[in-house]
């Protein structure tokens, strides 16, 4: 085995990219923001779509797997989402949220549409499919040592969610991951509709306030 020894030189770890590659690179990096990529997609740049896919496919696929619990369905929906991005990029409106928000909304929407369609199928067959797919989840999880930025975001969002009272958290997670309306949540939890709406509102505003303290505007992307 060949061993390395540090030879008494001064070493800096993980300096910022602007320090390493010059201040102009910060401006250059801004050109590859999600908005820039979407604008390139509007112009018909296939490489931009591929770049967007490379940037977000793991997080979106994870979300789809969480909602659909089926690899086949999740991959189908993932394809559908990015084809929709290609077709509808020109309709993206910054005023309604960030590009990441739009992607996640598309993914959730198509997944929940699919989930509702799947719910009408034979549940036994679906359970067998889930079991067959479930063991693959662990092997496909992204390298645990990677994604420092994303894992920080993950911990921050989870921490914020944990600060929301459990009964409020439950209603927004039911809406988010299962696509239940307020009425359906009230039926599921056997709670009055008004109570569910109140908890949802409280949870949403608290989540927004907690996250806005943790992240600045740029870090949302």
């Amino acid at each position: 085995m060949w061993k390395f020894q540090c030879e008494g030189v001064t070493i800096r770890l993980q300096a910022s990219t602007s320090e390493i590659f010059g201040a102009n690179l910060e401006n250059d990096l801004a050109l590859n923001s999600d908005n820039e990529i979407l604008q390139a997609i509007v112009r018909g740049d296939e490489a931009a779509l591929a770049s967007l896919y490379d940037r977000y496919h793991t997080i979106l696929f994870g979300l789809l797997m969480r909602i659909l619990h089926s690899r086949t369905e999740a991959e189908d929906v993932l394809q559908e989402v990015f084809v929709q991005v290609w077709q509808r990029a020109s309709s993206f409106d910054m005023a309604r949220g960030r590009p990441f928000t739009w992607l996640v909304t598309l993914a959730r929407s198509r997944a929940i549409d699919r989930l509702r369609a799947v719910r009408s199928r034979d549940r036994t067959a679906q359970a067998a499919t889930d079991e067959a797919n479930a063991p693959q989840l662990a092997s496909e999880v992204v390298d645990p040592f990677a994604e420092t930025h994303r894992s920080e975001q993950r911990e921050t969002v989870r921490a914020a969610l944990n600060q929301i009272p459990e009964e409020q958290r439950r209603v927004i997670l039911l809406a988010y991951f299962e696509g239940l309306t307020q009425t359906e949540i009230a039926e599921r939890l056997n709670e009055p509709l008004g109570t569910v709406k109140t908890r949802t509102r409280a949870a949403m505003f608290k989540l927004r306030d907690l996250l806005s303290k943790k992240f600045d505007a740029a870090a949302f992307d």
Partner: protein
């Protein structure tokens, strides 16, 4: 309804999914929303959102917060062929558009991205094909001055001597015109060759620019990848002034190294990068520095090397080695 009531409704709308159908009645409210509020409430909110920027911004920030919930889920990689399937569908959709005559994305790209518009599409200014002798003769006939012959009974009766003079003059004029035409054609042909040569050079430069742009974009992709890592390598005692920056994408393995102040490699030798994971050095590409000691290396880190905790550059035989044998010139800190 009060403004506070509208804001309360926004919290619920922000959680709902997006309309899958075009042309739905409510511009801001997704389909599911309709199940949670009365038609009167929906109509009022729709009108309010069209006029209230504060509420639109509130809705946007709530939606952004909701989207962040996706981060609570562990990232999972789909099958590797999903990407290609998406791109194939996109290209298939473009082909369909072009058949129907609608503007394609390629058309839009060419229209809006000047860099990607190849110079080779420019039509040469001059065809410059030398004419055949028949064409030349035809041209001479067309360009020669035509002198009408007067009628036999008129005052302008042509005598034999004057007709001969006219003929000689005409032939001379035609010869001069022919010579001028030939010279002109030759000049045009030369200019055409020069322009073609310049065009070829411009095409070459354009290609080089496009290649460089592609490399820069690829480098930017590395830097902006979600799994991007950057670190520095410092010179060892044999090259204390040397320094390098390494950026790589842990997911794809694409890496780029910029090095400065590297001593020139002796003949038959080159620098080689190593990715040390679990104490085992994995070989990367070989490279050489220019006369000013600068080097740029683009490499693909093998999968087993992407968890490397140490990076190094050594001097090795020119063709590279499978295990390090030479002096270390650059070394990173242990991660």
């Amino acid at each position: 309804m009060t403004h506070e009531r509208y804001k309360e409704m926004l919290a619920i709308i922000a959680l709902a999914t997006e309309n899958a159908r075009e042309g739905d009645k409510y511009a801001f409210a997704p389909a599911d929303f309709v199940k949670d509020f009365s038609e009167e409430e929906r109509d009022a909110l729709d009108v309010h959102l069209a006029t209230c920027a504060e509420c639109r911004n509130e809705l946007a920030s709530l939606r952004d917060s909701v989207a962040m919930l996706a981060h609570t889920i562990e990232s999972i990689a789909p099958s590797a062929d999903v990407r290609e399937r998406i791109m194939a569908r996109v290209r298939g959709a473009e082909a369909g558009d072009s058949e129907s005559g609608a503007p394609t994305s390629d058309f839009q790209a060419k229209e809006n991205a000047p860099i990607s518009h190849p110079v080779s599409n420019v039509v040469p200014l001059i065809s410059g094909r030398p004419r055949s002798l028949v064409e030349t003769n035809n041209a001479r006939e067309q360009s020669a001055e035509i002198i009408p012959l007067p009628t036999a009974g008129g005052a302008g009766r042509v005598t034999k001597s004057s007709s001969g003079w006219f003929l000689k003059f005409g032939m001379l004029a035609a010869s001069i015109a022919l010579a001028a035409t030939i010279v002109g054609l030759f000049t045009l042909w030369q200019q055409n060759n020069t322009l073609n040569s310049q065009l070829a050079q411009l095409n070459k430069q354009q290609q080089a620019t496009n290649d460089e742009l592609a490399r820069v974009r690829a480098d930017r992709d590395i830097l902006t990848a979600p799994d991007a890592r950057t670190l520095q390598l410092s010179g060892t005692s044999v090259a204390p002034q040397a320094h390098a920056n390494l950026a790589y994408d842990k997911q794809t393995g694409r890496a780029i190294l910029y090095a400065v102040n590297l001593p020139p490699a002796p003949t038959g030798k080159a620098y080689q990068i190593w990715y040390i994971a679990d104490g085992k050095p994995l070989p990367g590409k070989v490279f050489k520095a220019d006369t000013q000691g600068r080097a740029t290396l683009r490499d693909n880190i093998p999968a087993e090397g992407r968890n490397a905790t140490l990076f190094a550059v050594t001097l090795e035989p020119e063709q590279g080695t499978t295990a390090p044998t030479g002096e270390k010139y650059l070394l990173s800190a242990s991660l």
